[in-house]
Amino acid sequence: MAGLNKSDFKNPVVNWIDTRLPLFTLMNKEYAVFPTPRNFNYLWNFGALASVALVLMIVTGIFLAMNYTPDGSMAFDSVERIMRDVNYGWLLRYAHANGASMFFLVVYVHIFRGLYYGSYKTPRELLWMLGVVILLLMMATAFMGYVLPWGQMSFWGATVITNLFSAFPVVGNAIVTWLWGGFAVGDPTLHRFFSLHYLLPFVIFAVVFLHVIALHITGSNNPLGIDVKSPQDTLPFHPYYTIKDSVGLCVFFLVWSFFIFFEPNFFANPDNYIPANPLQTPSEIVPEWYLLPFYAILRSVPNKLGGVLMMFGSILVLFVIPWLDTSPVRSAKFRPIWRALFWVLVASTIALGFVGAHRPEGWWVVLGRVATTYYFLHFLVLMPIVGKLERPLPLPESISRPVISRGGGPLPGGAPAKPMEKP
């Protein structure tokens, strides 16, 4: 039955609004008193950091777009004008360009956190899959954003990445022509990339919203990977995790600011300060660091279509890991074999990053193939098998019990039926 919301807010204006549109009740429920596992470590900051990064990317991007011209003959100069003439334009552009790296940095930590602590397992499968959708959207957005300055790397990066689709038989070339809006990367390509680069962040924002709704239905995972059993296991989100997230946010801003103010071109490629020239390819084409592992997988496969499929597959496989992982234990903390394999996966991914940054010659080829093989072996073979064979360590009875026994508190442990919080 439809009915007015019974609001607990004392302020008459807030109460009046809240009775008719319960935003205040909602925010209070989801962000203030929201029961959150009490044993989060700092790795649980990174979701919040990623959402702050997304908002700042959208905000700086909106102001950059006010001064940017998505035209093949004017784009490069308009970016230079932003750097030289627009008030604080240098700051906006450096914050935005380095922001992409910062965004991927925290998102990758967030993803590996989920992999280590089994955050993708039931009942959080959909939450995880929405996250993979966000990752794919981020990659598309970042790639198209990198094209906009219309330097040599922009142009040739766009050429290489769009040409990936030519690997598909029969329709490949037609798809590529369609993507370009011409017979080479050119002005129509730039216009559509700008349009989509402006659109996709808002799509990401919408998927993040769904991601957060799903999170608040299932509740957060935690470093022990066991379910919340009683109110003793939780803390209200505010002030405990608002403060903890704020501490992480300060550190995050310090790192981000370091790059903006001291090494603004650390992640940039000097070739991108040369205007796009459709008649000359730079001697070395390297994508941004956050795409290097996937680029390495692409190059490790000696077959054009195979490489493209493996590259897309390396992300698509993430969609199905909730069902590939057969172990009922979430946290790798209690899975000694799986924990070791997790670090092999991390090492393989980082190795692929280095492989992607080097010419595919000599040992780099071998290393790339070994790491690519392990990446897929990890998810497709080891994940189902180890889950069945491994003998996990005994799980703690509840979240609060090991916390309290370590904290030395005098509270009687293992009394989940006796809630500590007063009603």
Binding site: N87, G89, L92, L235, Y240, R406
Partner: protein, 189 residues
């Protein structure tokens, strides 16, 4: 690693809370956050102000020799029209002889021209009513009852000194900053 919260966390009323200290911490934290947000917001806001290349276009030189008496020209300055008009002796006399009490915005003609250059009136050609460009630079244009400019949008009329004589415009035409570089050349801006 994991939080080692004392047992009474979460009970809502821990013992021995120093309320004054807590208020102070809240104020300091809030103030720091407000300053941080302001520091981030200001570059964004300021980026919408005129940029260096726009400001660099803020002066323009005008050669006066081709303008015959009784006519004016329009030059663009900062994207706005500026009227530069060569007044006849009769027009100057009319402008100077007006009683200030008869004006909507009283201002002497001498205050609207440069000393020794009374034949040149330089005004921003934007009606002070709602921003249209008045007619009257060419002798064939309608110039209104006071022989200056006539705004086609709502019928405001200006005299030969650019002062409003008939509404709805409330103010005289604005004067741009300018200086005579020689007797036949001015620099606006």
């Amino acid at each position: 690693m994991s939080a080692t919260a004392p047992a009474d966390h979460g009970s809502g009323h821990p013992h021995g809370v120093d309320e004054g200290k807590r208020d102070f911490l809240k104020l300091v934290t809030g103030a720091a956050a407000a300053i941080g947000v302001g520091a981030i917001a200001w570059p964004l806001i300021d980026s919408m102000n005129p940029s260096a290349d726009v400001l660099a276009l803020s002066s323009v030189e005008v050669d006066l020799t081709p303008i015959p008496a009784g006519q004016g020209i329009t030059v663009a300055w900062r994207g706005k029209p500026v009227f530069v008009r060569h007044r006849t002796e009769k027009e100057i006399k009319e402008a100077e002889d007006v009683k200030l009490s008869a004006l909507i915005e009283p201002q002497a003609d001498a205050d609207r021209v440069k000393p020794g250059h009374a034949q040149w009136i330089v005004v921003i050609g934007i009606c002070t009513h709602l921003g249209c460009i008045p007619l009257g630079n060419k002798p064939t244009d309608p110039r209104g009852d006071w022989g200056g400019w006539f705004c086609p949008c709502h019928g405001s009329q200006y005299d030969t000194s650019g002062r409003v004589r008939h509404g709805p415009a409330p103010l005289n035409l604005y004067l741009p900053p300018y200086a005579f570089e020689s007797d036949t050349k001015i620099k606006i801006g």
